[in-house]
Symmetry: C2
């Protein structure tokens, strides 16, 4: 082991959540600064089920900035990674020059080792980049003693990452300035605001085709879809206000309907893109049918779906309806895996379905359409991990063998 | 046989074509008069492949109006059928009162027997109502000696039927008047205008679910989709002008791209409908991918698709590219049926595909996704059939046994 490893290593570990948009972000007005063409609103998912953990170490002994993601070293020169590193270091320098922190100038020039893991498979297609960049920025800020507004930096890593900087219900205000200084996330309500709300992630079995990525997809949409332009200019502002009101009032019907409509409209603009983009698979469509038929059966909006740039459904539902709806999902997407494997996360009671209900739904079951369900709820924003046994980097500043 | 069957029977037989919209009609501003929220433009398909034949007989001896469709007696009191009968009789009465025709007042009060058949399976989902109502109105007009503008009456049977009143390329001008008098079809170019243009109908194997019908689907869209409203108000007018120009110039690239974009936008507004409507199946999506990859391979827009309220694809392509594209369809949608059964209509030469091309497309073949292809071209409008052996009603005014 080289001698300079004996140098002091400064190390911080944090976790950050995944978020799911209920008013969708699709399209940038500035690619480099990641400034969106419309505001968006999301729900932060609980980190007990879905989170990124990041450990960052700095030391005089480190030769260069390095990063390991999910056990594999990745290219640190990735432009968006560089944006976040550069912005945090700039803020740290500014704070030191302003005399706000006692960071010595040497520390600021130290190289970083970054190690990050998700507690869920990347293949699940769960917008891991939002949690990843939020965690990176949150952790870097602590390493370099930076405080205050950080969502503007997270945004430059991945647009939706800015919303993962807060718990509960979060809006990303698009802003007006060319430099993006006013394009920031803001908490609308905390994670304790609506305790009855539950979230189910229906992880769809891997599709035959890999759909187009969101970065390049939204670029094509901005260039070719006149419906997207209209949505951004004339529809989203009203929907943001309505959604914030629905959240504040805990009005499930209003929240659910607007969530579904906005998901559908986002996918409509994808279809209006040229060439068209399809993110909804036949399984996604069957989930949509199931939800509408379920709601129609009870003449009440009890369940809502939303879909991002992939086929997985995210379901919003009040606690008391979870067991029945999960049972319905199991019935219409029969699986080989046992119940414990099929339903991950918060426990869900088993119930029996009435023949009446099954007949009212009247769909043809799709075997193995859904791999598993993650049962979760609204959760808090990024947190610092104190327990050093959970750090991903060892005392030598390199990934632990278990990482 | 009752004695009054010896009374003189007046009989006319006509045929009318199917049309496929390239600028789509979706949504009415007046349900009863069938007035659309936007103009539309269609291509009339050739009757050698797809047509409705209708025989109408009148006789003093007939006790009541009756109708037989595809061999089965149907309810004559259907409101849209009644609209067409009423309007034609009104016009006939007006002409007689104006002294324009020598029709005796007795004939005008005669009951009609209507018999109609399609030369293609209704299950193929090929907008048979457009050809059906166009044929009904065209034939009725001849029976009652009515001449001149008839598309406004056909429109009241089925909106898109007004476009089947002409051959070639036809626009349906939405009109402004509340009474719909200016909501009429008009020929943009005749059926001989673009002789190289070919049309392939890819009949998709019957889907699991029966999608929502267009009448009720468009009603829900008008009520719930803000994107549809924007499309009708701000997008279609420009597209109509562009499409008419592309047709007049025989500019295949412009025609093809606008056709695809408008099909996609129509389906986007269906997805923006609440609850959302899906007409495109996974087979439709694979056809869309195939077309875009094919065009990309040649760096030229050689093929266009359009989809109505169902999963069948209608393909536009210039004559010289037909053999290769058909072969590609056969390759990526392998079928058990022999070539003669798979390709109906205009003959298509067999060619072999280069490995290079197949690899460039790079799709996973979908077995039996497409039942068969109808190969056709642009065709003429409704025609009178002189040969009485082709009449669908016998000399007694009742369907022939073979009908």
């Amino acid at each position: 082991m080289p001698e300079n490893n004996k140098e002091k290593i400064n190390m911080v570990t944090c976790t950050a959540p995944v978020n799911i948009a209920v008013i969708k972000y699709w399209g940038k007005r500035n690619e480099e600064l990641i400034l969106p063409i419309n505001s968006s609103l999301s729900v932060t998912l609980h980190q007990d089920q879905l989170k990124t953990t990041t450990t960052i170490a700095t030391s005089r002994s480190f030769q260069e900035d390095r990063i390991w993601l999910n056990g594999k070293e990745e290219d640190i020169t990735h432009p968006r990674l560089q944006s976040c590193l550069r912005e945090i270091r700039r803020l740290a320098r500014k704070r030191r020059n302003d005399g706000e922190i006692g960071l010595d100038s040497a520390s600021l020039s130290h190289k970083v080792h970054i190690c990050s893991v998700n507690n869920f498979p990347t293949a699940a297609g769960l917008a891991s980049s939002a949690a990843g960049f939020a965690c990176l920025v949150y952790t870097l800020a602590r390493v370099f003693g930076v405080e205050g507004e950080l969502s503007g930096i997270a945004r430059q890593g991945s647009g939706s990452a800015c919303r993962s900087m807060y718990g509960g219900f979060v809006q990303w205000i698009m802003g007006k300035k060319d430099d993006g200084k006013d394009s920031l996330a803001q908490q609308v309500a905390t994670e304790t605001h609506w305790p009855e709300l539950r979230i189910l992630v229906l992880v769809v079995s891997l599709a035959e085709r890999k759909p187009i990525g969101s970065t390049s997809g939204m670029q094509t949409s901005v260039q070719t879809s006149c419906l997207l332009q209209h949505r951004a200019e004339s529809i989203v502002t009203g929907r943001m206000a309505d959604m914030i009101e629905a959240v504040r009032k805990r009005d499930f019907t209003a929240f659910a309907e607007l969530t579904m409509k906005d998901s559908n409209q986002f996918h409509a603009t994808c279809l209006d893109t040229y060439p068209p983009i399809f993110y909804l698979s036949s399984v996604s469509q069957q989930v949509i049918s199931l939800v509408h038929r379920y709601n129609r059966h009870y003449e009440e909006t009890r369940v809502a779906y939303t879909f991002d740039a992939g086929p997985n459904a995210v379901i919003f539902i009040l606690q008391q309806h979870v067991p029945e709806f999960v049972q319905l999902v199991q019935h219409f997407f029969p699986s080989d895996t046992n119940r414990g494997q099929f339903i991950k996360g918060l426990p869900v009671n088993s119930v029996s379905l009435s023949e009446d209900l099954k007949q009212a739904i009247g769909l043809e079951p799709m075997s193995k359409g859904i791999s598993y369900i993650i049962s979760t709820k609204v959760g808090p924003g990024p947190c610092v991990v104190e327990d050093s046994t959970l750090y991903l980097l060892g005392s030598d500043g390199f990934p632990k063998k278990t990482a």
